[in-house]
Symmetry: C2
Subunit: 345 residues, 2 copies
């Protein structure tokens, strides 16, 4: 008898989540439940159209096994426990609800492994606190995949991920490791994808921050694509490179060694022939909340706690918080009070 398919819940069905759903279902080893919000009606009606660099440019009307509008409540709905919950939503720690809160009804204690496909540092902490007996797994993704409109995905850069277990003190390392390896096995069922196990989660995360804390955050303040940024000596020399060096110094102070040639490599990483904007900048352009704390705030705090001077990143942090405050105001979540006794004067 064939092994039972793994039950996977996917929370966040933009480009990254949808391509994960596609890989997991078509691999034949998983059954996916996808939670959709703004795109639910469009996908229920017409399915998903995918233009993929890896699976073909003309996939039409595809659907995962189950789509639904809300997080399942496993107990109340009397569902089988989920083996995995893959979270690909943005991680906005300064805006409720948190990831830990929102997935709660779908988590079975001691059973469900939670895969966080999100950038930045210390994203596992609230999950470990809330779910001390569940494996928490890190995925750092390098895919290029965007939902161009509801139910339409442009997958223009190959799916590559580094996956490993976060250190959850309540879960034996071997159990967490096995969960990560099983996730890779069902995701990369035919072994053709570049989805690899990497136990050094800390390194993988700091290494990706060299790009994200610099390009993402500066692009978001400037509303500028990365090729244009590279055309300006001021932006590269006064902003991008200093931030990279600060992040590398912070990593080093936290026991993570990043090679000296990384800044020059990462400065030149993006193509220069198209006006690519990092995801945080796309959010900033739309007035959507940005992942400030996990991408900028946490590395800043980790570095400063070890005595590393990070003045460039701290300045960018203050600016991003100022921009986020204006986004909150526009969405009615913060009110400016023009009183003579302004509380913070």
């Amino acid at each position: 008898m064939a092994q039972q398919k793994a039950k996977v819940l996917i929370v966040g069905t933009g480009g990254v989540g949808t391509m994960a759903a596609y890989a997991l279902e078509t691999g034949g080893k998983a059954e996916v439940t996808a939670v959709m919000r703004s795109n639910f009606a469009a996908v229920q009606k017409n399915g998903i159209d995918i233009d993929s660099v890896e699976y073909g440019h003309d996939i039409r009307g595809w659907r995962p096994t189950i789509i639904r509008k809300t997080i399942p409540n496993v107990k109340e709905e009397n569902l089988q426990p989920f083996d995995f919950i893959l979270v690909t939503t943005k991680n906005i720690q300064d805006i409720p609800p948190t990831v830990a809160d929102s997935i709660e009804p779908a988590v079975t204690a001691g059973k469900t492994a939670i895969v966080l496909s999100q950038n930045g540092l210390n994203i596992e902490r609230p999950l470990i606190k809330r779910y001390p007996t569940n494996p928490i797994i890190s995925s750092i993704s390098y895919i290029g995949a965007t939902e161009t409109s509801h139910g339409r995905i442009l997958h223009d850069d190959v799916d590559a991920q580094k996956i490993g277990p976060f250190d959850n003190p309540g879960v034996p390392l071997e159990v967490a490791r096995e969960a990560a390896e099983r996730y890779i096995a069902i995701y990369n069922a035919d072994g053709k994808l570049d989805i690899v196990f990497d136990a050094d989660v800390k390194f993988v995360r700091w290494r990706k921050l060299v790009y994200n804390a610099s390009y993402n955050s500066v692009a978001s303040v400037l509303h500028m694509d990365t090729p244009r940024m590279r055309m300006s000596r001021h932006i590269v020399d006064d902003l991008i490179r200093p931030i990279m060096l600060e992040v590398i110094a912070a990593a080093c102070a936290n026991g993570v060694e990043i090679a000296d040639d990384v800044p020059d490599k990462v400065i030149r990483a993006d193509p220069t022939t198209t006006a690519f904007k990092p995801s945080m900048c796309q959010d900033a352009d739309k007035g959507n909340f940005m992942e400030i704390e996990t991408i900028v705030g946490e590395p800043l705090r980790e570095g400063e706690a070890k005595g590393v001077a990070m003045p460039t990143l701290r300045t960018i942090y203050g600016l991003l918080k100022g921009i986020q405050l204006q986004f909150k105001e526009r969405k009615g979540m913060w009110e400016a009070k023009f009183t003579p006794d302004n509380p913070y004067q």
Copy 2:
């Protein structure tokens, strides 16, 4: 016989220049020639309407003695030399033409005193180089005056200025000082205005930069008014105060002592009951060029040259240069080249 009226050319007839024209003409000791550009037609037709906190709220159809569209060419037009040229335009050192270039046809060597009513550091240098025998005078203005539409001025904060001679090595200090004092005498003809002589030009300029380099530049990056900025602990503590302390350290290293209590005073200087935006921020909102070099670049260079660490201001400088680059692109003065061999990679 009454003394002949001083001939004053005013270049830049926004709020500050127009109120200067009004004070000079109505004082009876000066005859003003005002150079108008975008507002020329409106003022020629209807004159200027002024709503003034000092002169009355209902001044209608006022005109200076002469209005014209271009800088006069004293030699070619066979005009009497100007005693004073007052420059109130923005000082955008990274965008031609420079102030020194544009006023040249109106300057009579060894005669015309040039009054620079502009903020920032080292603005006198190109003038001294070009006009080595002319008195160059500093005016730091604290007036609140805005051209709300062509030919309409809202003058909502009193005219206060600190005026003194820049140190021009080719002009005896006594001559420069007399020119500054004569300018004050014709401007403040009835002695009622708070227009005072202050020989310590360097101090006056650095002191005003404590506000301008911090609030103006951060407001411009954030597109945010100063009361809202003060409602955010991040903006005040991570941005405004660090910049103020860096500017004060740079001033100190350059022999200008600014008292310890200045940051706290300046942080609280603006009213909190209306959404006031500093002038550079108003420019940024409109996509107009910002006075980056005189307000931010020069204090940064002066401080760093003396070994002062100014990382917060350097970060803001890089961002402002990035924003200015995008303004240049929008105005067709810079072209992005999306080539694989990007020159600055």
